[in-house]
């Protein structure tokens, strides 16, 4: 068996292992065959361990052989040869994807183990693990993707699982509304991503990152597009990344996403999902070399997000929200690093931050209790500042405080600037539609729109 075949098999194992988990958990729900909690936990554990072992094996082989780029060709999902249309399934293991894939498996495994205890006997246990499996597939596929279509596939799975897990406690309206908010932002981000992917197709003739980045391996590739196309595609990808990573102006969804159970908050908004945007920017970082304008845009965007994140995190009165904005600060800084061309620094920063934040978020439910115990043991406030002894705030401080407390008024700005006009316009159009039909049917709008028959089950019975 040659080394290439071994690498190919290992690469497929990395992707298939979480995919098999998703299929097993999905089928059990589809066919109405409930699985025991322990079975689900064991399946999850096995999936993570197999995937992780395969990813580490690839890393070892790469280190031993000095290989920096291992493409795994799966083949065409769909191909129309005569039209030169191929939906290409291709994965790559390089200096960027291997650490991120390993990170995904490690953190998914940690959170999976935590969640199997944390959600023990919770009615939504199996639902959680189904979405978790979907998320894991999405992360691994996104991380190892070598074509923009493949990355988009994983990106969408991550988005859907995130939104559904935010709405995990779905007996209350608030988590559901927040889940919908997250989904809406993700759809905007997905649309930007898709437009970028299609533009890329037109510019390079294919969606392969290889072709986009020319001959060099990450991060030394040289983009094969001119400055203006690079700016166009890069800006769209930056918008997509901003949506996915909760950067400005989409930061409003980050604290809302904390409505989900702690394990999902940890893995999505502290560790992996929130970094997917920056991962995307890292993957296409050679584009920044082509367009200085794009580079500047990335730096400014990252800097603004970092500043906003640090302001907002300081005034949160909820530990998960504070951590969410602290994550945003770090994501902003990572974006700045990418903009400055410090790709390896950004990668290391991303991995370190993801691990730290996962730990903090998983500890969040019990940290307050520990904090109080510690204060009781010390016999005073740990901060050293007694309530009521704070110095008076200046107007600037007050302004900043209010700005941070209101989370930069971003939600209300987006609502009044985009959502409200959009909904108002279509509500008005809907009203006209109803009036037109009322006119044709010679009925008043109220009559023409009411249910023609009382057909609730109670009426029938």
């Amino acid at each position: 068996m040659t080394l290439d075949i071994v690498l190919h098999l290992l690469g497929i194992t990395v992707v298939v292992s979480p995919g098999a988990l998703l299929i097993l958990l999905g089928l059990s729900r589809l066919l109405g065959i409930p699985l025991l909690e322990s079975v689900q936990a064991h399946l999850t554990k096995a999936s993570v361990l197999i995937g992780l072992a395969a990813a580490i094996s690839i890393l070892m082989i790469m280190l031993v052989t000095g290989s920096r780029h291992v493409p795994i060709e799966i083949g065409n999902w769909v191909s129309l040869d005569s039209e030169h249309f191929h939906f290409h399934f291709k994965f790559v293991f390089d200096r960027l994807s291997v650490p991120f894939v390993i990170l995904s498996f490690v953190l998914c495994g940690t959170v999976g183990a935590f969640a199997s205890v944390y959600l023990h006997r919770d009615p939504g246990y199996s639902r959680f693990f189904l979405f978790y499996a979907m998320f894991q597939v999405g992360m691994v596929v996104s991380a190892a993707a070598d074509t923009i279509e493949t990355l988009f596939l994983g990106w969408e799975l991550v988005g859907l699982s995130s939104a559904l897990l935010v709405a995990y406690f779905h007996d209350r309206p608030s988590p559901v509304q927040n889940g919908l908010r997250v989904w809406t932002i993700y759809r905007i981000s997905d649309a930007a991503f898709l437009i970028a992917a299609l533009s890329l197709h037109h510019l390079t003739g294919a969606g392969d990152f290889d072709k986009l980045m020319g001959v060099g391996h990450w991060p030394e590739g040289v983009a094969m597009v001119g400055p203006w196309p690079a700016l166009l595609v890069g800006s769209l990808l930056l918008l997509a990344a901003a949506g996915k990573s909760g950067m400005l102006p989409f930061s409003g969804w980050l604290p809302r996403a904390m409505e989900g159970p702690t394990p999902s908050s940890a893995i999505f908004y502290g560790a992996l999902s929130v970094h997917l945007g920056t991962y995307l920017l890292l993957r296409v970082s050679p584009l920044l070399d082509v367009s200085p304008t794009l580079r500047g845009l990335v730096i400014v965007w990252g800097l603004a997000s970092a500043l906003f994140g640090t302001l907002a995190s300081r005034v949160q009165n909820d530990v998960k929200n504070a951590l969410a904005f602290a994550s945003l600060t770090q994501v902003g800084i990572i974006t700045v690093e990418i903009g400055l061309g410090w790709d390896y620094v950004a990668l290391v920063h991303m991995i370190g931050h993801a691990c730290l934040r996962t730990l903090q978020l998983l500890r969040a439910p019990s940290v307050l209790k520990d904090f109080q115990n510690l204060e009781n043991a010390v016999g005073g406030h740990l901060s050293g500042v007694q309530p009521g002894n704070r110095p008076a705030a200046s107007p600037l401080q007050l302004g900043l405080y209010r700005f941070a407390l209101e989370r930069g008024y971003l939600d209300s700005l987006l609502y009044s600037g985009i959502v409200h006009p959009f909904l108002s316009l279509f509500r008005k159009l809907d009203r006209w539609e109803r009036q037109w039909n009322g006119f044709l049917s010679r009925e008043s709008v109220s009559t023409s729109t009411k249910s023609p028959v009382a057909d609730s089950l109670e009426d029938v019975l």
């Binding site: 589809l30 109405g32 249309f85 799975l157 779905h170 759809r187 909904l423 729109t449 089950l457």
Partner: protein, 495 residues
Amino acid sequence: MVELHLPWLQLTILTPLLGALPVYVLSDRRLAQRLATLFSLASLVFGVAQWFDFRGLHQNADVYEAADRWGILGTGMGHNWFVVDPFSTLLLPLTALIFLTAILTTLRTKINRFSFAGTLCSQALVLSTFATQQPWGIVLGLSFSTVPVWLELKKRKQTTRVFSIYMALMTFLLVSGQAATSLTPESDTPWLGGFLLTAGVLLRCGIFPLHGWMADLYQRATFGTALLFATPLTGAYGVMRLVFPIAEPWALQSIALLSLFSALYAAGLAMVQSDARRFFCYLFVSHSALLLVGLEMATPIGLTGAMCVWTAIGISMHGFGLALRCVEARTGRLSLNQFHGLYKHTPFLGGMFLLTGLASIGFPGTVGFIGTELLIESVIDVYPLIGFTVVIAAAINGISVVRAYFHVFTGTVHPGTTSMTCRPKERATILLIVLLNIVGGLAPQLGVNSCYDAAIELLEHRGVSKQTQPEQRRQGMEIARIETVFPYQKDQEGM
């Protein structure tokens, strides 16, 4: 013309038609439902058989069209009336499946309202429309298929004014358009006929501004009937067979732009609906408009994408509609202004509702994904800037679907004590549709090949049709066609 081995087409069409009579006279509604299921199932079996038969001919003998054998109904006036090609061969079993699933999932509480005989008649009419390529056959099929729906509205004592006005207009436009086209000398372009036919089929598709009847129908008819009138997409078939072969490129592009606008408009309206049926209606209009955009691109990729989306809509939107219908059958009309929290009572329906809804918007791994990808690629090839409207419309539809899911299934605890568990028949039917959604999404190559063959055939047919134009125009058209058909190379492998 090559013939199928058995008269599958006539069997597929006649079986539900023959079944309609005994079903109509039966006073026992449960027995009527069983009988209707049986006839519809037989029609599906014959439809699948003709698909296998045609595929065999297509693969072995490179046949692109096949007529029915022993034409009793199939021949007349010197024409083979029932002919299938790589695409319509797929539409017949799909349509039969759509009708069968609607009959199967009708709950006992609804069997007094839902007309099984009318449904079987509709099935026969829709199948005969899809089985013919003769313009007059399609015009008649489109016109007569409105009758069972109109009768049901009358029976339900609903006002039929909106439906009657629109459908009478459609019939007038189609008949006069086809008459004008037939009377136009072959050397001339049938401007008037083409315009009237276009207006007629766009009305049937529910394209802006001719879509008013759709919302009215969904509100007044039973959900099953409205679903069966819309989801087979006979209007799109009319566009493909009546308009596409004769329309000038600029006319097709104008229709495409109108369809693009419709897709966005309906997507926006779906987003703000407070009534679940109206939401479904506008979501459907948006999808069918997207499909028309692809059809009007007149490129192999665009047509292939449109046809893939067509089958995807047939499966996913119908499944989505059935899931909504099953919920409605248990709760009554659903408002999307409030949360209903039905998930705990019926998690299966909740999951299926979400899955089919996501499939309809082309979520990765589902049946709609590849079709949507192909469609978007082709649109952006032809209209680089305006084409992005498709992406925006798809994004809005995605938000609407999840919003509907959240409102119907989550957000509160439903206080009802009535069991909402799915009945085995419903469960099996919805499961079948969901599996089709997933299998079609994971292994799309077979469907894409069929659609591509049909697309090429259609484009060649359009080319032949254009050759009847005057020499000068013909040359111009051929150049335009070649430019439209092969405008790009998708990858640079050959470069």
